[in-house]
């Protein structure tokens, strides 16, 4: 049992398939048409009272309120709080997990020793610790960041361990027989082997991190998107609530697209990016 099965590596490595843009402009128009049709359906559902209007705002007012919010500085502060926590948490996770994971993955003894511990800690739902961090740290940025680190550290760590244990032995022997210096070995052997797996870990962690950031704000009351959503809910301001939900979705999309683009840019040489997936 030399290799550790990564729960993510197998399926995660391939980038999500990008649907071919057959038809170019026509395809684009069709896609926009579907999106507009969904908006219309949402509007009609509310207008015809098929869903209780106490809980669902019509899309018109929500979009209008969103437009107004975009012009306030408070809105951008809220967004900054959420993104700030997201970024700091992710950065700490990466800085801790990648070197540690590579070190563990390169040593048979360490990876055997940590297998059970990491496997157990990975499955502990991160929100379970929300009450503890809330008690210790209060509704602050630190609380949120701690929650994010607790939630994203394990997927990153597992991906890094897996990556380091998967380095091609032939390449490793070659590097040794050419007596590559340590820095060259890191630059030409370690980094290219580890990067694709870390990228997959990052993509998974980015989504989890946003979820935890909003959770820490909504339940824990740290400033940010979740807290703004909660106060709109308390005030019964439905359009504003929906404006913030739409904001959260936009943020999620932006993060997803951002990471896919980043992966394509940085890993252009890797087969998972180079070989266009079958459509």
């Amino acid at each position: 049992m030399t290799s550790r099965a990564s729960p993510f590596a197998r399926a995660g490595l391939a980038l999500p398939q990008k649907p071919r843009r057959a038809g170019g402009l026509r395809g684009l128009i069709e896609q926009a048409g579907v999106a507009l049709a969904c908006l219309l359906a949402w509007h009609l559902l509310v207008a015809w009272q098929w869903v209780p209007s106490s809980g669902v705002s019509a899309p018109g007012p929500a979009l209008a309120r969103w437009g107004e919010l975009l012009l306030t500085s408070a809105y951008w502060q809220v967004l900054g709080h959420t993104l700030g926590g997201w970024f700091i948490g992710m950065a700490i996770s990466v800085l801790v997990a990648v070197p540690l994971g590579v070190a563990i993955g390169l040593s048979r003894f360490l990876s055997d020793s940590t297998r059970f511990t990491i496997d157990f800690l990975r499955t502990v739902p991160p929100v379970a610790l929300l009450p503890v961090v809330l008690l210790l740290l209060g509704p602050t940025l630190t609380m949120k960041v701690t929650l994010i680190v607790v939630g994203t550290l394990w997927p990153m760590l597992i991906q890094s361990i897996y990556a380091a244990s998967q380095i091609d032995p032939v390449l490793r022997d070659a590097a040794q027989s050419f007596r590559l210096s340590r820095s060259h070995r890191i630059r030409f052997l370690l980094l290219p082997s580890v990067a694709p797996f870390v990228a997959t870990g990052l993509r998974i962690a980015a989504t989890v991190s946003l979820l935890l950031s909003v959770t820490g704000e909504y339940i824990g009351g740290a400033p940010g998107l979740g807290a703004a959503l909660g106060s709109a809910e308390l005030a019964g301001n439905l359009p504003e609530m929906y404006a913030y939900i739409l904001t959260a979705a936009t943020l999620g999309v932006a993060i997803n697209i951002g990471f896919i683009v980043l992966q394509r840019q940085l890993l252009w040489w890797h087969p998972s990016v180079r070989i266009a997936p079958r459509g």
Binding site: Q17, S54, T123
Partner: protein
């Protein structure tokens, strides 16, 4: 390094014992450290582990397990099953019709990017804080990873297989059951695994907000009333719940995908 003198080959048994020992020492050391440190330096927020475990026995074996843990697990299973059925069903349909999935793609990407917690307020207003809301929230949150992975899996079925099935005019039902779904199942499983952890997060979150029972509610209200050891006992229960669910999932996956793992190791071996 000097090789050990003479042909010294460890027996199977001793190797297995060694493997267990190597995996076990770290968790044992960590728990022992927690035990000693929390006993030596007890603080308000980290009570002695002994105390926590005593409460764990008193509370969770088995009185609260019935009143607080069981409802959570039932809601989780219900919501997760709904998500599986809907995700695999719709995903197969969309995966088989590339045009439809292409047209729907941007809309799906937008809707699935909504963090589960952000729609929680809507569900609370619409459905209250009862089990219906929790099951719906889990179903909706766990649906997306399964859906997207199923679409991807179905679309990447070997084209040759698809052509063969088409030229033999294999009826749709058999094509689905014997070609498409088996080929897509590794990817469906990896989506389902991500969904499982999302589902556990969402059940805890929904109970922390909704105020009528469940393990998340127990932990949150223990925190609010400063019943710190009780809170820790609940956190241990949550950790064990996560681990047990994951282990069950892994066993199921190993069983269902046995053919797949067998095939990949064989091709790897033959490829060398």
């Amino acid at each position: 390094m000097v090789a050990p003198f003479g042909p010294h080959r460890p027996t199977r048994l001793s190797r297995r014992i060694r493997a267990v020992f190597v995996e076990a020492w770290l968790p044992i050391v960590l728990v022992a450290l927690w035990w000693v440190l929390s006993a030596r330096f007890p603080s308000t927020y980290s009570p002695p582990l002994q105390e926590i475990l005593r409460l764990f026995r008193e509370l969770w074996l088995f009185e609260h397990a019935r009143t607080d843990l069981l409802p959570s697990v039932v809601n989780l299973v219900l919501g997760y099953t709904l998500a599986l059925a809907a995700g695999v069903g719709l995903g197969t349909w969309l995966g088989l019709s590339p045009r439809l999935s292409r047209v729907l793609w941007p809309t799906l990407e937008f809707v699935r990017a909504i963090p589960g917690v952000a729609i929680l307020p809507v569900f609370i207003i619409l459905l209250g804080v009862g089990p219906t809301m929790k099951v719906t929230l889990i179903a909706v949150g766990a649906f997306w990873p399964i859906l997207l992975n199923t679409i991807d899996g179905v679309r990447s079925v070997e084209p040759t297989l698809r052509d063969v099935a088409a030229s033999f005019r294999i009826p749709l039902k058999h094509r689905l059951l014997h070609i498409v779904l088996p080929a897509a199942s590794p990817q469906i499983f990896s989506g389902a695994r991500i969904s499982l952890s999302v589902a556990v997060i969402l059940i805890v979150v929904s109970e922390m907000v909704g105020a009528n029972g469940g393990i998340g509610y127990f932990v949150r209200s223990a925190e609010r009333s400063f019943a710190i050891p009780e809170m820790w006992s609940g956190i241990i229960v949550l950790g064990l719940l996560g681990y047990v669910l994951n282990t069950l999932f892994r066993l199921l996956e190993a069983r269902v995908l046995a053919w797949h793992h067998g095939m990949t190791t064989r091709t790897q071996r033959d490829g060398r």
